[in-house]
């Protein structure tokens, strides 16, 4: 896959990928874009030997999820409990109204474990089937179903009313 093909496929995936990462980062646009850039550069470096265009989206999301997990592991604040104030303070002023709009959603998402968060976002936001989510997360379908079930219960509790 050459650079032109790579850029063409990235442009198709970019809006969804950035939205997914923004939600996973609880509205922290800077962090989400940094992870997206890192994932795309890793993908570009490895794209020379990648020819399966139909599997590009899965492959890209898998790399992005790994980058996201690395960031979450490194971020000691995120490793603990909710620190939504930090995320909001980093968000740009122009997005503050909208951050407020999604405040409840971000708070609910932030209460999920990284695995539950990824599974929930890929399932409900990206409309991906469980099998594909399992491939992206490099885990079994059973684990994805369990993560979804726990995540669903948590979100219902946090978002009701």
């Amino acid at each position: 896959m050459n650079r032109e093909q790579f850029t063409f496929l990235v442009r198709k995936e970019l809006p969804g990928l950035r939205r997914f990462l923004l939600a996973a980062c609880s509205g922290n646009g800077q962090e989400a874009d940094d992870i997206a850039q890192e994932a795309l550069l890793k993908a570009y470096t490895a794209s020379a030997g990648f020819e399966d265009e139909s599997g590009f989206s899965r492959w890209l999301y898998r790399i992005a999820c790994n980058c996201l997990a690395d960031h979450q592991r490194k971020d000691s604040v995120r490793a603990g409990t909710l620190n939504i104030e930090k995320a909001y303070s980093i968000s740009s002023a122009s997005h503050s109204d909208e951050t407020f709009d999604y405040q409840d959603l971000y708070r609910a998402i932030d209460g999920l474990t990284p695995g539950e968060r990824t599974a929930v976002l890929l399932f409900y936001m990206e409309d991906r089937p469980i099998r594909e989510i399992a491939t992206i997360m490099n885990t079994s379908e059973g684990t994805v179903k369990a993560s979804l079930s726990r995540g669903r219960s948590h979100l219902r509790e946090k978002l009701k009313g």
Binding site: R3, T7, V10, R11, L14, P15, R18, R19, L22, A23, G27, G29, D33, A36, Q37, L40, L41, Y44, T45, S92, S94, H95, E98, Y102, L105, L121, Y124, M125, R152, L155, R156, L159, K160
Partner: protein, 125 residues
């Protein structure tokens, strides 16, 4: 809360994000940097490429040479393979040494016999 409500919540999530063009411009810059690192190594590879047929030819010539000039096997099982065959060995010796003629050999034996007889006679005395 039903499952459909969760779908609706996430499907209505359309946050305002920074410009996609700015994002792609930043990405392109970084991809350019990666390409710059890649290109010298590719050039080095292409520099070596013209020499590859030469290297292959030299290797083939050496292999053929070794095959053609390999020493033939000897008939003697106790003799190492590295020694030349008997016929070749004689040819090599004849090139470097001169053997005595038959007459010279007979004369040498007769001389030795006479010396032996004289020595025996001295001992008897």
């Amino acid at each position: 809360m039903k499952d459909q409500e969760l779908y609706d919540i996430f499907h209505s999530y359309h946050p305002e994000m920074s410009s996609e063009e700015d994002f792609m411009a930043r990405l392109n810059e970084q991809m350019d940097a990666i390409d710059k690192k890649r290109i010298p190594s590719l050039r080095e590879k292409t520099k070596l490429r013209p020499f590859l047929p030469w290297a292959a030819g030299i290797a083939a010539a050496i292999a053929v040479g070794l095959f053609l000039f390999k020493p033939s096997e000897t008939n003697c099982p106790g003799e190492a393979d590295i020694y030349p065959a008997h016929q070749d060995y004689q040819t090599m010796l004849s090139m470097t040494q001169s053997f005595p003629t038959f007459e010279e050999t007979v004369a040498e034996i007769e001389q030795s016999g006479q010396q032996l007889q004289m020595a025996i006679a001295e001992m008897k005395e």
